[in-house]
Structures are given as structure tokens and as C-alpha cells.
């Protein structure tokens, strides 16, 4: 049956969904509506290789327009500002009407903004999309002292890149460790040491009281009355799902669009995928919201299958990475519920991994190493986690014993 399928949001989840639908359904019309006038592109390099000029804009696109044309996927740059779920219609700012049979919402997430009580809100920069990355790249070129508010992944990746561009970087983090929400302190401390060795200043346990601008220089007042002088301010303090368009509709929202394991929302024929979803994960038997490359891709693919009528549960074990300087950090599983931690290795040159176990079953791991040193073991951990494997602790502890053995035994 030929349907009109609309994908609202032209990011990674949207493009993977579109191509997956086409693989399973050669008949239907597929149209991506994107607020950004850019084909879907990879975001991880924005804070790293793009700032460092190792990758340019053309290197970031997932696919050329020819690929989309060949697969008969329409892409339109348009700002949608009203949704009528009852009549299955979307309305643009210019009052164009788009009618769908099935809708996928993949609108992603927005940067949380600092709320400053003076008129300096526009003086703080954020990095979530290509336009913002271009602005930061251009603006920092003649600046020296850069302050980054927020010691999470994005802030630290920007700090790493700007340090490599010979900037004097200060990172201010409200918590008592970097990447506090999800990374073990031991790993956070190793990352912090590398930043300090490379000349970055890391300030923990401090809150911003105020930012003042004097003669083009900013003074950041902290809650211990200390003052950081800086030429440029960037904030990376988290994100919120992009759901503003749906706030006065019947769509069920709760920290994002609530979906089941099939990417179905509370409204029939409306699906959602990627950062914007608070989705049910059948393996963990609970809802969660994730923001990562792997999730955007796999969740988009899963939504695409379901829209095309191939009923598929989303069961991916979460995995994410962060690259800072020559370090590669990887995290797999959900590591907030454990009764034992096992450390493998103590030297980042060979990789350091902390495994999280509950009732002797492996639940996930976080690793840090030079380049790809932890990748294989983290990947194996994902596979072991997926199978609720009880593992031999001695093998985990001993870096000379390959973890491949554990999966081959499955």
C-alpha cells in the first residue's frame, strides 16, 4: 500500500529511518522535513575534527543528495510550527500543509541554556549543530582565554580541541568530578589529569554566580568569590528533548516523547526516534532517554522497520564514546545499578576498564585508553551484557587473558 510517510527532523535518526523504510517499502512516499537547510550530517566531529580543521563541512554528510534521489527520499528544508494529530497534518510557518499517513518525529534535543540575569545571554555560545560549530570556530580564532561552563562530554571535547589550537582553556564544573552523571570517578580523574597535563585548567565544585562584561572581556564570578577573566564563554550544560511543538497536543510527553519498544508514541501512526524519545527498553524493563550516535542510528533504523510494518523491538545495549586529546573513552550498558566494580588494567596506554556487575552478572563497563585500546573489550562487554552473562572475575581482572574467550563460550 502506498502511504505518505513524513519524517519530522533531518538528523541521524531521521535519515537512518528513511533509508530503512525504503529498504522494506518501495512504494510509499518518504519525505524528510528539516529545520536545518543541510542534509543529515554527523555531529561527533563538530566538537573535534571540525574545530581542528581536520574535517570540513563536506566530510560530515551521511549521504549525498544523489543517494537520497536514488532511493526516492524527499528532503525539504521547512520550519513546522503546528501539528494536528487528529487530521494527520503538519503546518509550516508559511502555512504550507503536509498530510501524512505515518509520522516519525526525530526532532532531537536542544542545548540547555544558562539563565543570566543581565543581557549577556547572547554572549554565551553553545555547540550542538554545524552552524553553532562554525560560529565558535570563527569567533575563537582571535581569542586566547576561553572558558567552558560544564565539564561533561561536549565541554571537555571542545576544551581538548581548543587546547590543541593553543588556547588557554578553563573548564568550570559544578559537580565534584568531570562527566559526573555516568562515568566512574577513577576514569574521570584520568581524563582530568590529561587535560591538566595539556595545560587546561579544571575547576570543580564551583557554581557561576554572575558574568560581567568589561571592555570586551568577561569576568566570571564564582560562588567562592573567585573571578575568572576570559575572552570567550562556551556552555555545555546538558540538553532537553525538542518537544516544544507538541506541548499543547495529546502526545504523551515525559522527559521527551514517551514511546514503547516499537518506537510507537501514544498516538496511532505517530512514531518517534532518537534523542527526543523517552523510550521503553525491554532489556532494562524501564523507560530511558539517550543521546548518542549509536542510539540515534539504531533507534532510527528500528523506527523505520516498524513504520514499514516489520514489527521490531528496540533492544540495543547502550554504547557511547568521547574522544579527548589522544584518549578514547567508551561506555556500554547502564551502569547505575551494581554491587561490584572490577578494574582491568591501570595504564591508559594499554587501556583501563571498570566493569559493573550485579549478582555476578555483567551490566556494563566504562573504559579509557589511548586511541582504540579499550574498544574490543567494551564491545565484548556489550555482548556479554546482552546475554546476562555471569563472568569469571579472574578473566576480567587479568589483562593478559583475552575476553574473546568469554563470548566464544556462549
Amino acid at each position: 500500500m502506498k502511504n505518505n510517510i513524513i519524517i519530522l527532523g533531518g538528523g541521524q535518526a531521521g535519515i537512518y529511518a528513511a533509508r530503512e523504510i525504503r529498504q522494506n517499502d518501495t512504494e510509499s512516499n518518504i519525505k524528510i522535513l528539516s529545520e536545518e537547510n543541510l542534509l543529515p550530517y554527523e555531529r561527533p566531529p563538530l566538537s573535534k575534527d571540525f574545530l581542528l580543521d581536520k574535517k570540513n563541512e563536506d566530510d560530515l554528510y551521511f549521504h549525498s543528495i544523489e543517494v537520497l534521489k536514488n532511493e526516492n527520499i524527499d528532503f525539504e528544508n521547512v520550519l513546522i510550527n503546528k501539528v494536528d494529530f487528529e487530521h494527520k497534518k503538519l503546518f509550516s510557518k508559511n502555512e504550507d500543509v503536509y498530510t501524512y499517513d505515518s509520522l516519525l518525529i526525530s526532532t532531537g534535543s536542544d542545548s540547555k541554556r544558562l539563565s543570566l540575569d543581565n543581557n549577556l545571554n547572547d554572549d554565551v555560545y553553545y555547540l550542538r549543530n554545524l552552524e553553532e560549530a562554525k560560529i565558535i570556530k570563527e569567533k575563537v580564532s582571535d581569542k586566547n582565554k576561553i572558558t567552558i561552563i560544564g565539564g561533561g562530554f561536549i565541554g571537555l571535547e571542545i576544551a581538548s580541541s581548543l587546547s590543541q589550537l593553543q588556547k588557554k582553556v578553563t573548564v568550570i564544573e559544578i559537580g565534584n568530578q568531570l562527566m559526573g552523571r555516568i562515568i566512574p570517578k577513577q576514569i574521570a580523574d584520568l581524563v582530568q589529569n590529561t587535560h591538566i597535563e595539556q595545560g587546561n585548567e579544571i575547576i570543580l565544585n564551583k557554581q557561576i554566580d554572575k558574568i560581567i562584561k568589561k571592555n570586551g572581556i568577561y569576568e566570571i564570578l564564582l560562588n567562592d568569590n573567585s573571578i575568572i577573566e576570559t575572552d570567550f564563554v562556551i556552555a555545555g550544560i546538558g540538553s532537553t528533548p525538542s518537544v516544544k511543538l507538541f506541548e499543547n497536543t495529546n502526545l504523551k510527553l515525559d522527559n521527551g516523547i514517551v514511546t514503547n519498544q516499537f518506537c510507537e508514541t501514544s498516538i496511532k501512526d505517530v512514531y518517534a526516534a532518537g534523542d527526543v524519545c523517552n523510550f521503553y527498553h525491554p532489556f532494562y524493563e524501564r523507560n530511558m532517554r539517550l543521546e548518542s550516535y549509536q542510539h540515534a542510528q539504531n533507534h532510527g533504523i528500528c523506527a523505520g522497520k516498524n513504520i514499514a510494518g516489520v514489527k521490531t523491538e528496540y533492544t540495543s545495549i547502550p554504547w557511547m564514546w568521547s574522544d579527548q586529546f589522544n584518549l578514547n573513552l567508551q561506555l556500554t550498558g547502564i551502569c547505575d545499578d551494581y554491587d561490584e566494580i572490577i578494574a582491568r588494567g591501570n595504564d591508559i596506554n594499554n587501556g583501563v576498564i571498570y566493569f559493573f556487575l550485579k549478582n555476578k552478572i555483567i551490566k556494563g563497563a566504562c573504559g579509557l585508553g589511548i586511541a582504540g585500546k579499550v574498544g574490543r573489550d567494551i564491545r565484548i562487554t556489550s555482548k556479554l551484557t546482552e546475554k546476562n552473562t555471569i563472568v569469571d572475575k579472574q578473566i576480567l581482572l587479568d589483562q593478559n587473558q583475552k575476553l574473546n574467550k568469554l563470548i566464544q563460550k556462549q
Partner: protein, 105 residues
């Protein structure tokens, strides 16, 4: 094929099954794999970012990059999963008297 382009990598027992070793020759790095049906060779550096595939996971006929999980078919070099999109170069391999040789062009 001229004989001089076959470079000795090592003995066949230097690689466990479903595993790989890194092999450096002049200024290039290769990965040599032992799969269930024989030995294979590819470039040793991921086509996505400059990272050594020697730390990657070999599963069935695939090598997965340890840094960002791009996946390549070891036998054809085909990039199978993003972020890898450029294929990996492969090289002929032969075994002679329990020694592995790869043909570098």
C-alpha cells in the same frame, strides 16, 4: 605476480582462530586475520579515523573498529556499518610451509 612482492608475515600459529595480528612493513600497517576458512589481510588503519584495527573485534568474517565501531568485511574490505563508509583495502595471502605471506602492491 612477481615473487618479490610476497612479504613474510610470520608463522601460522602466531594467530589464533577468529583473531588477528598487526603487521608493519616499511611505512605501512596491515592486519592479518585467521578465520575459520583461512588467512586474510587488510590495511591496518580504519578508513574512518586513523586508528589501528589491531585492537578491534573479529567476529565471523568481520572486523569492528575499536574506536567508533565501524564494521568491515575482512574478505572483501566492504564497509558494512557507519561511521565507516569507505571500504578497507584487502591483500592476497598465501601460506607456504606454515608461514604466512601477503602480497603488497
Amino acid at each position: 605476480m612477481s615473487e618479490e612482492n610476497w612479504i613474510e608475515v610470520g608463522s601460522t600459529d602466531s594467530i589464533e582462530e577468529e583473531d588477528l595480528i598487526r603487521f608493519d612493513h616499511q611505512d605501512k600497517t596491515f592486519c592479518v586475520y585467521r578465520l575459520t576458512d583461512g588467512f586474510y589481510a587488510t590495511d591496518g588503519i580504519c578508513t574512518h579515523e586513523a586508528v589501528h584495527l589491531e585492537d578491534g573485534l573479529v567476529m565471523d568474517d568481520e572486523i569492528e573498529c575499536p574506536m567508533h565501531q565501524g564494521i568491515f568485511n575482512i574478505k572483501s574490505g566492504e564497509a558494512l556499518s557507519p561511521p565507516a563508509c569507505e571500504d578497507l583495502k584487502t591483500y592476497p595471502v598465501k601460506v607456504d610451509n606454515d608461514k604466512i605471506f601477503i602480497k603488497i602492491d
